[in-house]
């Protein structure tokens, strides 16, 4: 019998006050009013530690790095203490058939109740043969493990939207998890990688309420992807005033002006970087002087140069315009020849 989080914390000597403090931080993380902390504590305290199976497909392990590279003990740790991570190829000690057996066992024991987390896109080319683990294609494994899951969390832009493996010309036929799994609740937590506390925030919500949080049109949790980077950017006043950095080392850049002209995709990118920030809340890319790449948006990898301003074209250049003008002159000249012939004809008839 698994113990509740309350029992587990009490056994570890964690005081209620410490738990309340943690729940206040959790409320802040989940963008809930801080006054919700006691209610979260009550719900979370009663939660059973859920079984979690983590599958990695076509990915770079950056998402796992993001999650585990925070200094212990943090919020992320605490949340990880509240789940039972029964299978994670990178983090588990077991390997080979023992690891696979552990997964089978967890699947059997918690069938229909476990949470499936996926990072990496799913290769569908050659019936999925481009990416296999223990001789089983990612495609087959996903279908099999998802069948018994209560819900699926796609962590990172690869599992959420296809990611870099899907970039043109997509040799492996990579697709997102939600393209394969259509009969289970799937939530996307995109980003390359996602912000660690956003990953844990979704888990915390699942632990507290037993459901996945409300999502937007790309299945992203609204509490973290509800607003654009631009809307929450501290450099926004400069955008509104029309003050832009023209290069990465000009006066504007030194003054911390808006990076729109240098290709910042903040205005069309929904994520929490501007408020939650990175590296233990140190900063985020724009604060470090580089525009947003838009890594939590679908197809960010195939949307033209990272340094092309948002209002610039991605296909057209001056060559196109010159060629079009030349073609126009040619057509016009042709038309003129025809009309002149007609004029001539008309005059002769008079």
């Amino acid at each position: 019998m698994r113990e509740t989080l309350d029992q587990s914390l009490r056994r570890q000597g964690v005081s209620r006050r410490a738990f309340l403090k943690y729940c206040t931080a959790l409320a802040s993380l989940m963008a809930l009013p801080p006054g919700m902390a006691p209610a979260i504590a009550a719900a979370l305290g009663k939660a059973m530690r859920p079984s979690v199976i983590w599958l990695s497909f076509q990915e770079c392990t950056g998402c796992t790095e993001s999650l585990t590279r925070s200094n212990a003990p943090t919020l992320e740790d605490l949340i990880f203490n509240s789940i039972s991570l029964d299978y994670h190829e990178t983090l588990q000690a077991a390997s080979g058939t023992a690891a696979e057996a552990a997964r089978e066992q967890a699947m059997k024991a918690f069938y229909g109740k476990y949470l499936l987390i996926v990072d990496g896109s799913v290769a569908t080319g050659l019936q999925g043969a481009y990416s296999t683990v223990a001789g089983v294609t990612n495609l087959d494994e996903l279908k099999k493990v998802a069948a018994g899951a209560a819900a699926v969390v796609a962590v990172g832009s690869c599992s959420s939207f296809g990611g870099l493996p899907m970039a043109h010309p997509n040799p492996t036929g990579a697709v997102a998890v939600s393209d394969i799994i259509t009969d289970k609740p799937v939530i996307n937590v995109p980003g390359c990688p996602p912000i660690p506390v956003v990953i844990t925030g979704v888990l915390a919500h699942f632990l507290t309420y037993g459901t996945l949080p409300e999502t937007d049109l790309h299945r992203r949790p609204k509490m973290f992807y509800g607003e654009t980077i631009h809307d929450r950017c501290y450099r926004r006043p400069f955008y509104d005033q029309g003050k832009f950095a023209h290069t990465f080392d000009d006066e504007g850049a030194r003054n911390g002006w808006c990076l729109y002209e240098l290709g910042c995709k903040g205005p069309i990118t929904y994520n929490s970087c501007a408020t939650l920030k990175w590296n233990e809340g140190t900063s985020f890319p724009i604060e470090s002087g580089h525009g947003c790449l838009g890594c939590s948006e679908p197809k960010f990898w195939d949307k033209g140069s990272f340094y092309q301003p948002l209002s610039g074209g991605t296909w057209t250049d001056s060559g196109t315009l010159l060629a079009a003008a030349a073609a126009g002159v040619a057509v016009g000249a042709g038309a003129a020849v025809l009309s002149r012939a007609r004029q001539h004809h008309a005059q002769e008839e008079k």
Partner: protein
């Protein structure tokens, strides 16, 4: 340029304050009013707002520090300070590493987290009783209970 600190980068100039600090102060005045008239407490999560350093500085300068400074040691330190405006409390919660995990302003008579929590009192009492039964005077707790 041979050294990083010779590159004259000003990341966040003071003028970038978007006036958020001022708006927050108005909000706080309203919340204090509600506390006085209706007795309702309120909280503002400072980490959920895109505050520039200048906004923070302005908040700190206007609110100042008051008479009560509390420190909690519970999974990292937490400091709860009554600001120079009584009834406004500044919460700063840190992790074990000292990183700030939450920063809030609360308008209340006394922050709840400073109160002893019933669950902790219960287990504390239990520990106390175990201590007393473990000591040479096993009859004392029984007597106390009779008084109660």
């Amino acid at each position: 340029m041979s050294r990083l600190d010779e590159i004259p980068v000003r990341i966040m100039p003071a003028e970038s304050a978007a006036g958020q600090g001022q708006a927050l102060l108005h909000e706080l005045a309203h919340m204090l009013d509600v506390l006085l008239r209706e007795g309702r407490s309120g909280m503002i999560d400072l980490r959920a707002l895109p505050l520039a350093a200048a906004d923070f500085a302005r908040l700190r300068a206007v609110l100042g520090e008051g008479e009560v400074h509390a420190r909690i040691d519970a999974m990292g330190e937490a400091s709860i300070v009554e600001t120079g405006i009584p009834g406004i409390w500044w919460h700063t919660y840190r992790s074990h590493d000292g990183d700030i995990i939450t920063e809030m302003l609360e308008t209340t008579w006394c922050p709840d987290i400073l109160n002893s929590q019933p669950e902790d009192v219960t287990s504390g009492l239990q520990r106390l009783r175990e201590q007393l039964t473990g000591d040479a005077a096993p009859s004392i707790p029984a007597k106390e209970e009779q008084h109660a």
